[in-house]
Amino acid sequence: MIRAEKLVKKYGSGELELVVLKNLDLEIKTGEFAAVIGPSGAGKSTLLYQLSFLDDPTSGEVYLDGVATSHLDQQEKTLLRLQKLGYVFQDYALLPELNAIENVALPMLMQGLGEQEAFRMAQKALSRLDLSDKNHNLPSQLSGGQQQRVSIARAIAHDPHILFADEPTANLDSESARPVMEAFRDLHREGQTIVMVTHEAEYAAFAERIISLKDGVIIDDGPWKPHARTES
């Protein structure tokens, strides 16, 4: 589904050069739920940005459905994100002037769907996340956990090939975080491919595959192990 080949990401230059990802190879298969874990500065989020086309690698290639993407311009990458990817941000990232259903419907409107159809699909996505009674609430009228679930609904409503989640529980208490992680688990069970970055072992356990990163290199890649640690 998505494959990174000899991925390098550097920041700065000369003496100030910082290599965050070092010749990293990785493949995520269709239907997988992978958690990227590792200590702070390991390059987890940077890896996610490269895989989701939010950032361009210094070198290397990312293949989506077997097609190389390094030659795409920003407009094409924006279109790719719209059509094939879903993204859940750490701080929910809902647009404050749009209510829940409008936030969820927005990407589908951009895809060219009519307002009625987009809202129908948005409502369906919100129902999947037990938020059907919050359709018309503005983000400021929702709790953190509810906002994050709206964010997930927005990311999945258009049926993306891959769902990326960047520390989706980092801003939530455990009570709010659990329903969010259960939502990811349920989506995975329904066949959704998910790549999630987290530093919390408890939530990494929801994934079937754990990719451990340290200093820009994958140090471990395999099924969840109870002793896996996310931070050094």
Binding site: L54, L85, G86, P96, E97, E102, L106, M110
Partner: protein
């Protein structure tokens, strides 16, 4: 990505951002745009209106829509009776007033001779003979009688004097202009002696009682003497209708056609035939042009201020929402759609400001200034605002607003998506 889809998403976002953003901020921006519109329309409209007011008074109080005067080098309008017959039977002529007009000297002090080295209390001006009823129908002459009474039809021995000929009433009295003699100690009820020169070189005089003082910002009224036309005919004397002026009332838009028709009827050398606009002195036209330029210059400043205001508002709005702009791009919203949303917001401010400005201009200010003109020494200033002129200014304002909304939106939207999301 499809332009229409981007436009639709831009509209979707803009509508909600306007609806759900702070009401106070929106009201303030719309208020500024309204002031800008008023600055564009009203300031220049009032400046031009100072002169246009005098044109209007000239037309309504003196010339009518068409003014016929003696041709250059002629003493009177040739074939006057035939011309009057033509005007009488013309279906588009609502009325006309034919006037006799002759140069005259008026002496104010009749009892005492001037002392040695003292100039006589005398002034020269045009003496105009009017048909009271016709003049009233065409110019509403009686409204200019500020003191005393108007003449009656066929009345003899009475005269009306323009206020600018009498020291007591003239606005030039304190100007100390060399050679400018004004009548002293003359008021309603005074006796004055009018002298006119006949064609054979003789001079003839007659005493009149001042029945009234006529006051107007139209010089042709405030610097003349008026008696009835029947009396002036006997005074001159003339045996037939040989008029010097004919003011014709018709539809303003029809005036150029009527001028052509009269010229065809009389021949162009029989008289000088002009629309009221043609009869207005060129220096007044120059002042009008200057006022227009001045008004446009002030409007330009207003436009610059408005564009900077919209720019700052949209820029601050976009900068504070930079993270959300990044997120929108992150989830695949086309930059063009985001730009559209900001442009549409800017347009909303422009349209709302213009609409409120339109209502204020045509619903409040124009009727107000029509009812209560600004009292300037040379005119009654009105507000000149036409729907066409307002439409052009709205268009300019919206174009400026569009640019002022587009540039900051473009600046923010083109920033790196990830940097925007992470606030770097």
């Amino acid at each position: 990505m499809n332009l229409l889809v981007s436009l639709r998403v831009g509209w979707f976002l803009a509508l909600r951002q306007i609806k759900r953003s702070g009401k106070g901020t929106t009201a303030l921006i719309v208020f500024i745009m309204t002031l800008t519109f008023l600055n564009l329309v009203v300031v220049s409209g009032l400046l031009v209106g100072l002169i246009s007011g005098s044109f209007k008074q000239f037309r309504e109080g003196y010339s009518g829509e068409v003014i016929i005067t003696s041709a250059v080098g002629r003493d009177y309008i040739e074939n006057s009776p035939r011309l009057l017959g033509f005007l009488e039977n013309h279906p588009e002529v609502d009325g006309f007033s034919a006037r006799y007009s002759v140069g005259a000297q008026v002496q104010g002090t009749l009892t005492n001779l001037p002392k040695k080295n003292e100039r006589p209390n005398r002034i020269g001006a045009r003496l105009t003979g009017i048909d009271i009823e016709r003049e009233e129908a065409v110019t509403g002459f009686s409204r200019f009688v500020a003191y005393g009474e108007n003449l009656r039809d066929g009345e003899e021995g009475y005269i009306l004097i323009g206020s600018n000929l009498i020291k007591k009433y003239s606005s030039f009295a304190d100007a100390n202009i060399p050679g400018l003699d004004l009548l002293d100690d003359v008021d309603v009820g005074s006796r004055v002696r009018v002298s006119i020169a006949r064609q054979n070189g003789d001079s003839v005089g007659k005493d009149f009682i001042v029945k009234g003082i006529v006051k107007s910002k139209v010089d042709e009224i405030s610097t003349r003497f008026f008696i009835t036309d029947t009396e002036l005919r006997r005074f001159l004397p003339v045996n037939q209708e040989q008029f010097q002026e004919i003011a014709v009332r018709t539809d303003y838009a029809y005036a150029p056609t009527l001028v052509r028709e009269i010229k065809n009827f009389t021949g162009s050398s029989a008289a000088r035939i002009q629309t009221t606009d043609e009869a207005i002195p060129s220096f007044l036209r120059d002042i009008e042009t200057t006022m227009t330029v001045l008004g446009n210059a002030l409007s330009s400043f207003a436009l610059v201020v408005a564009s900077i205001t919209v720019f700052i508002v949209i820029f601050i709005n976009a900068v504070t929402k930079r993270k959300f702009i990044g997120i929108m791009k992150g989830i695949g919203i086309a930059p063009r759609a985001i730009q559209f949303s900001y442009i549409l917001q800017a347009l909303f401010y422009g349209v709302a400001g213009s609409l409120i400005g339109l209502v204020l201009t045509f619903g409040v200010l124009k009727p107000y200034f029509d009812a209560y003109p600004i009292d300037f020494p040379f005119s009654d200033g009105i507000l000149v605002a036409t729907p066409e002129g307002a439409a052009v200014r709205i268009l300019i304002l919206l174009l400026v607003t569009l640019a002022a909304g587009y540039i900051p939106a473009k600046l923010i939207v083109r920033k790196n998506t990830l940097d925007s999301i992470l606030g770097r």
